[in-house]
């Protein structure tokens, strides 16, 4: 029972294939269920929701170096609960997992941290905002002004984030449906961060600027039993408009999207409005992963090709997945992030 095995057991109960990616299709059971009538309250909802089984603070950024080189940055804090309550000390059932990554056109750096709640090693506090695991932190007086740090054995970063737009609630006031059967999560974003700071890479320190997108999501059973994974896109167009869209792969695919206008006004789009079809596969970590996509949102005239900056952006973490920066061309130009889960080797 080594640690890695433990974590995989934790996150991937063995019949994982039948129960969706990372066990997210398991029954909620004793945990709280997301409800459509819930009204999100801020800043309280920036904090943790221990009654729900899983939750994340998920930040991705598209950055540019002084010579114009594009970079991607990821900082994620996951919370997993073994039981629907919080507690002090080692006995708490709240477990935390941090993932950090920096992607360059020809390299991908990844680090992972694990911690138990209740002893101060990891946690989230709503106000003043602070999310941390070990020495990694996302903190500031509020969610609009944050400092973000993380480090691995071969990379580190320290960047500042400043929000230039409002929070965006996905789905119906932040209640985001994930399947025809009604599985859902609470989901909101802050897609309007301006970023500046430093990346530390093997070649040295690199000053960077760019934009970042924070996703906040919690649920107890966000996937249907037959759903095995998802392809998630967050695209920022040069026009200032943004698009969040995902495909949940199951017996029949389920899609959802949010169109975010440059002023922050959001429109939720129903199943079927958003379409994404793979154009090219790439072999990563022994699996075939689609790293080039044809993305359409007919309602807004979006018909673009989404291409990975670095096809090897594989997150070789306890629960492995693909996560990396993308470039957008076609009807709209821009940048964004792509996340793909549930691709088996």
């Amino acid at each position: 029972m080594n640690v890695k095995a433990l974590i995989v057991l934790l996150c991937l109960p063995l019949p994982a294939l039948a129960q969706g990616f990372a066990g997210l299709g398991s029954n909620a059971g004793v945990f709280a269920d997301p409800a459509p009538e819930t009204v999100l309250q801020f800043p309280a909802d920036h904090g943790a929701h221990p009654a729900f089984r899983i939750e994340w603070w998920y930040l991705t950024a598209n950055l540019t170096g002084p010579d114009g080189t594009p970079y991607g940055l990821q900082w994620t804090l996951f919370r997993t609960a073994l039981a629907p309550h919080d507690g002090q000390g080692w006995q708490t059932p709240q477990l935390w997992m941090g993932h950090a990554a920096v992607t360059t056109p020809d390299a991908h750096f990844v680090a992972e941290r694990l911690a138990r709640g209740g002893i101060g090693q990891a946690g989230v506090q709503a106000a003043p905002f602070s999310a941390w695991i070990d020495d990694w932190a996302m903190q500031g007086p509020d969610l609009d002004r944050l400092r973000l740090t993380a480090s691995g054995s071969d990379f580190a970063y320290d960047v500042g984030l400043a929000a230039t737009g409002p929070l965006v609630l996905h789905g119906q006031n932040g209640y985001s449906v994930k399947s025809a059967a009604g599985q859902a999560s609470h989901y909101y974003s802050q897609p309007f961060f301006q970023v500046s700071g430093n990346l530390t890479l093997p070649e040295g320190s690199i000053p960077v600027t760019g934009q970042a997108w924070l996703d906040r999501e919690w649920s107890s059973q966000p996937l249907a039993q037959d759903q095995t994974g998802w392809d998630w896109f967050s695209l920022s167009f040069d026009t200032g408009d943004k698009l969040m869209g995902f495909v949940l792969r199951g017996v029949t695919d389920f899609t959802a999207a949010t169109w975010i206008a440059a002023d922050g006004s959001a429109t939720a789009l129903p199943d079927g409005a958003f379409a994404a079809t793979p154009l090219a596969q790439h072999t990563v970590a022994g699996r075939d992963v689609p790293v080039e996509w044809h993305v359409r949102l007919a309602e807004r005239g979006v018909d673009v090709t989404v291409q990975a900056l670095n096809p090897q952006a594989w997150m070789a973490t306890s629960v492995p997945y693909w996560e990396g920066p993308v470039q957008v061309s076609g009807s709209h130009a821009g940048v964004g992030y792509l996340e793909m889960t549930g691709y088996q080797d």
Partner: protein
């Protein structure tokens, strides 16, 4: 055709069951001792490895508090939040069981109950009543623990693994952490340890666990014995194969004359030997298992007593023993048979098939040359060699060179004996002994090796024992030792003892890290007791005066060697306080380094340490009265007062047990050598008839002949013993002054034990006499018709 040849080959063994038995028994006994010793070592090493894997010793660096105490949990959090990839461990004893609490989320790979319980459930491990992983017998002793018990054979003996939260509750260590494991991979941005937790100290990974290094000497000892027994076994096998091949020359010639190709014949003989080797190997491994099972509880007790190492007393059957046992049996047979097969290959087809007065033609000159070359090599290594490997080559060259020198030396002595002999019977006795020498020489070489090893090892052990007892006398100079439960009782003890004893010597000690190594620091009161009794390996002049004036410290040999100190070198005893080394003392049996300060300096540097143990100097006649007074007036429990004699007895009993195993192996080796002599005599008996018959015909009775044979065996054994003594002493010197220093870093003085050697000589004579008894008895009862038969037809 192969079948026919095989049946011809095997017919020989059918007609000579004794030789078959010799071959199989020699090989089996050699394999048994070798694989038995290997089994014991493997079992112990598996236990150390399990302990090291469980506790992260060896593979990971460790962070501990400088004062050896537990650290607050908040310090751990502070380190994690400063970027240190460390994992907490809590440990302690619950009853007799060692409880180890780990955090599976941060533990570096491979730590924890590895491979335990397929489908292990993290939720169950982390929360609720928790889970506890241990071997079955350990779990049985954990009666009071509520947690779910899971049998995990990979966990170290006497150790139970559980979640750190549960371990803190079980051990009453809430909010405390004993040590931190430092993962190999650390993030780029990590603040220095000293700025976050100045009270902590980081020790680098040591590559092997402390226990494994401490017990190396013990296992080396066993391995050497295993190898020695096996080589003695090989002498027997070599003898048996050589004899069989000599006697089968006629058959080989006949078979070849009948048209069997040589290549095929040799091939089939190799197959024949391989089959015999496999059979003997299997018997040997089974016997070895029995030897190991019989010795292991003693070994486990020794290791626990001496080093605090937990070794399972139960033997697990590992397939690798079977394989290595069989492999060594096959390899040994190949070595033993190579010469015999070669001489068959080179045998001209038409040469006389008569056995050549077997082995008389062995090239004595070459033997002498090889022997001298080996002995010269040994001498060269002794003078110029460096390193453990050189030490082992020295041992090997010494033993083999000595063994090869034996037959020429004996031949020389027997020739002298013959020259001095008066009267025909005496002359015949010497001449006949010389005539038998080649046939017996292999067995005598085996006896030589066994005796030399006996002398060497017993000299080493006894030297160690003598040094150790002297050391105990020096260190346990006070008549009575008292332990207090707390400072209040300590004060009461001082009050009582001050009026009733000659001196009260407080024993102040604290565990610290010195030069990055764990060490004990002692405060000693300036007292004549120490001046009178302590001996130094090296010391500055007027060392006690300088110590009393606080001008320096004393260090033990372990710290001196490990930290590379020297007289006058400065050693840091506390942050910012470095003092020169005034003296180095031997500290046998102590695994860690030690420093002695004078009391005043100690109290200044470690003001929080209160003396809870005291040595009391008193007239031995008054001991009982003082004990009573301490019990009645200071409320000291009886078991907290120990007198000098019982501490010494306890220490010595641990020591004796350590070497009980050595003694057992010593006797086994000697027995194997005795067996070799028996077998040689039995096989020679039949061949000697043509030489005995004329002497019998001249008037010597069978009884007389038998008595002379018995005498001959004993004379040869005595002569071998005379050669074995210097060889054994050379071996002892090599072990003490070369191998010991290279392997363990300290040198033991060598003492001689003539009475022991005399007893050993007696034992060797006894073994030879016992071995000769049966052949001699057979000779005394041989039907005269058989002796007459010698004259009827020439064999």
């Amino acid at each position: 055709m192969s079948r026919v040849i095989f049946s011809a080959l095997f017919a020989y063994w059918r007609r000579n069951p004794l030789q078959l038995f010799t071959l199989l028994a020699g090989l089996a006994v050699g394999t048994a001792l070798w694989s038995g010793v290997q089994a014991i070592n493997a079992e112990a090493r598996a236990s150390y490895d399990a302990a090291a894997a469980t506790l992260g010793e060896g593979s990971y660096g460790q962070i501990t508090a400088k004062d050896g105490a537990a650290m607050p949990q908040q310090t751990y959090i502070a380190l994690r939040r400063a970027g240190w990839n460390v994992s907490p461990v809590v440990e302690g004893k619950l009853g007799s069981v060692r409880i180890v609490g780990i955090d599976p989320l941060t533990a570096p790979g491979g730590i924890g109950p590895v491979g335990a319980a397929g489908g292990a459930d993290l939720a169950a491990f982390l929360s609720g009543a928790g889970q506890i992983f241990a071997q079955a017998d350990t779990l049985r002793r954990l009666t009071l623990v509520e947690a779910e018990r899971i049998i995990a054979p990979d966990v170290a003996p006497n150790t139970a693994i559980t979640d750190i939260g549960l371990a803190q509750r079980l051990l009453g260590k809430a909010g405390q952490i004993d040590r931190l494991l430092v993962a190999t991979e650390q993030p780029l941005t990590r603040r220095p340890l000293a700025t976050i937790a100045p009270d902590l100290i980081e020790a680098q990974a040591q590559g092997s666990s402390d226990v494994a290094r401490l017990t190396d000497s013990f296992h080396l000892n066993l391995t050497a014995f295993g190898l020695l027994s096996f080589s003695v076994g090989l002498f027997i096998v070599h003898g048996a194969i050589g004899l069989a091949f000599e006697q089968r020359r006629a058959m080989v010639r006949t078979l070849r004359a009948l048209g069997v190709p040589l290549r095929r014949l040799i091939g089939l003989m190799v197959v024949e030997l391989a089959v015999l080797a496999l059979v003997a190997g299997m018997i040997g491994v089974a016997l070895g298992y029995a030897v190991a099972a019989a010795l292991l509880p003693d070994v486990a007790a020794t290791l626990r007593g001496l080093y605090g190492a937990d070794v399972s007393g139960q033997l697990a059957m590992r397939p690798v023993w079977w394989l290595s046992g069989l492999a060594i049996a096959l390899g040994g047979t190949a070595v033993a048979a190579a010469g015999a097969l070669w001489s068959l290959v080179r045998m001209p087809l038409l040469v006389s098939a008569q056995p050549r007065a077997w082995a008389m033609a062995r090239r004595r000159g070459a033997l002498v040359a090889v022997s001298l070359a080996l002995l010269a090599t040994a001498a060269g290594i002794a003078v110029w060699g460096h390193g453990l490997m050189a030490g082992f080559i020295l041992l090997g060259a010494l033993l083999i060179g000595g063994a090869l020198a034996l037959p020429p030396l004996l031949g020389l002595v027997l020739q002298l004996g013959e020259g001095c002999a008066r009267g025909p019977v005496a002359q015949w006795f010497w001449a006949d002994t010389r005539q038998q020498l080649p046939g017996l020489s292999l067995a005598l070489m085996a006896l030589l090796l066994a005796m030399a090893a006996n002398v060497g090892v017993s000299t080493m052990v006894s030297s160690f024992r003598l040094t150790f007892t002297g050391f105990l006398d020096q260190r346990l100079a006070s008549e009575l030792y008292v332990s207090a439960t707390d400072a209040r009782q300590a004060a009461a003890i001082i009050a009582v003892a001050q009026t009733r004893s000659d001196a009260v010597l407080p024993i102040l000690s604290t565990d610290q890290h010195v030069a990055g190594l764990p060490a004990e620091i002692y405060g000693a009161r300036d007292h004549v007791t120490y001046r009178d009794n302590w001996q130094f390996l090296r010391a500055a002049p007027k060392v006690w005066e300088a110590l009393a004036q606080g001008k320096g410290v004393l260090v033990n040999e372990q710290l001196f060697r490990r930290a590379g100190l020297d007289l006058g070198a400065k050693v840091t005893i506390a942050p910012g306080v470095a003092m020169p080394v005034l003296g180095i003392y031997g500290d046998y049996g102590n695994p860690v380094g030690q420093i002695i300060l004078t009391e005043a300096v100690f109290r200044r540097q470690f003001p929080d340490v209160v003396a809870l143990r005291f040595g009391l100097r008193i007239d031995p006649a008054q001991v009982a009265a003082l004990r009573a007074a301490l019990r009645d007036q200071a409320g000291v429990a009886d078991n907290a007062i120990v007198d000098q004699a019982s501490i010494k007895a306890l220490s010595l009993s641990v020591f004796e047990r350590t070497f009980a195993v050595t003694t057992a192996l010593n006797i086994l080796t000697l027995a194997v050598a005795g067996f070799a002599i028996l077998m040689s005599l039995l096989t020679l008996a039949a061949m000697r008839l043509p030489q005995l018959a004329p002497v019998w015909a001249l008037g010597l009775t069978r009884r007389r002949l038998a008595a002379l044979d018995l005498l001959r065996a004993m004379v040869l054994a005595a002569l071998t013993g005379a050669v074995a003594l210097p060889l054994g002493l050379a071996l002892a010197w090599a072990l003490l002054a070369v191998v010991n220093v290279e392997a363990f870093g300290w040198r033991l003085p060598m003492y001689l034990f003539p009475l022991d050697y005399l007893r050993l000589a007696g034992l060797a004579l006894l073994a030879a006499a016992l071995a000769a008894l049966w052949p001699v008895w057979r000779l005394s009862r041989i039907p005269p018709a058989r002796l007459l038969g010698v004259f009827r037809h020439e064999r």
